[in-house]
């Protein structure tokens, strides 16, 4: 669809449109969550998932997602961003069975993905800042992203993902960011997803 047709379609639609961007560190489950939302509201997955870090190395987009919750509706463009990291070492990927050539190629693509993700942060209307609740949340990437969103006055929800894992501690994330809304979920199992959808629906009005 051309951008003109897309703009006209949005103009004629009664639903509010929003770019819903999933951002965060590497391997926090952004793509798993993007797929869950995509399947629930558009019947489509957005990105492949893998235990190997930096599986999402290009921005993945799913347009015209008709989101509704409790009578509130949004037309979403879901944008699954590559995970942000301050370091990329190809040797890390060899621990997952990749050979040197594959690992170096993945590292090269990962660095480009991070640059692209940072470049596209200004396209955000609503951000889901996805954190891994099995890890200590006091990481500079999280602080940098939240700080940048606050400075740009972009609305965001902190998603404490992976609560299905026994060592998860979503309370620690809430304690670390007490002034922000934190929604504990398991994107993989669907646990808590209704609370997240209710939180997203607040942006419909």
């Amino acid at each position: 669809m051309s951008s003109l047709t897309t703009m006209l379609s949005r103009f004629l639609s009664k639903k509010k449109h929003a770019n819903l961007c999933l951002i965060g560190e590497v391997n926090t489950g952004k793509s798993t969550l993007a797929n869950k939302i995509g399947i629930d509201f558009a019947g489509k997955e957005i990105s492949p998932v893998s235990e190997i870090p930096h599986e999402t190395r290009e921005i993945a987009v799913l347009e015209k997602v008709d989101f509704s919750n409790d009578g509130k509706e949004l037309e979403l463009t879901i944008i699954d961003m590559p995970g942000i990291a301050t370091q990329v070492d190809w040797r890390e990927f060899t621990k997952y069975g990749l050979n040197k050539e594959e690992a170096m190629q993945r590292a090269k693509e990962a660095t480009k993905g991070i640059v692209e993700a940072i470049k596209h942060l200004n396209t955000i209307d609503i951000a889901l800042v996805v954190m891994d609740s099995t890890k200590v949340p006091f990481d500079q990437v999280n602080l940098t992203l939240l700080g940048a969103l606050e400075m740009q006055k972009k609305p965001f929800i902190i998603v404490a993902n992976k609560i299905d894992l026994p060592n998860s501690s979503p309370d620690l994330i809430q304690e670390t960011f007490p002034q922000h809304k934190v929604v504990p979920i398991s994107a993989l199992k669907g646990e808590g997803i209704d609370r997240l959808y209710q939180a997203i629906a607040q942006f419909a009005s």
Binding site: T86, D89, M104, Q140, L143, T144, G147, T176, F177
Partner: protein, 114 residues
Amino acid sequence: MTVQGVDFIPEAILDRLEAEARFDLILNSVSQKNVVVIERALEPQEELDLISRTMQRVDADRFTGIKLFSLKSRVNGGKSLFGRSKSLTFSVIAPSDSVQVRDVGGVLSLRIPS
């Protein structure tokens, strides 16, 4: 991959540079295995720009990136490592493959493996 030294960059020197030169100053030092301490905390957008420029410099064997810490409470009400006074803020940028960094009970601990 041992750290060579520590460079302290005064706020006055950093702030009189254009953005590009500012990041070059930091990354040239870090890529030569120095830890850089800046006399003020970088702003979130500066940190994003620094990460972006770091990724453009990542090289398979010579430079794998940075460890970055800005010590102040930039998320209002969030935890702070060294109090909340703006006068105590600073940023630390270290070569990622040469240091281990831990937050031990609110103390930022940089360890240089032997």
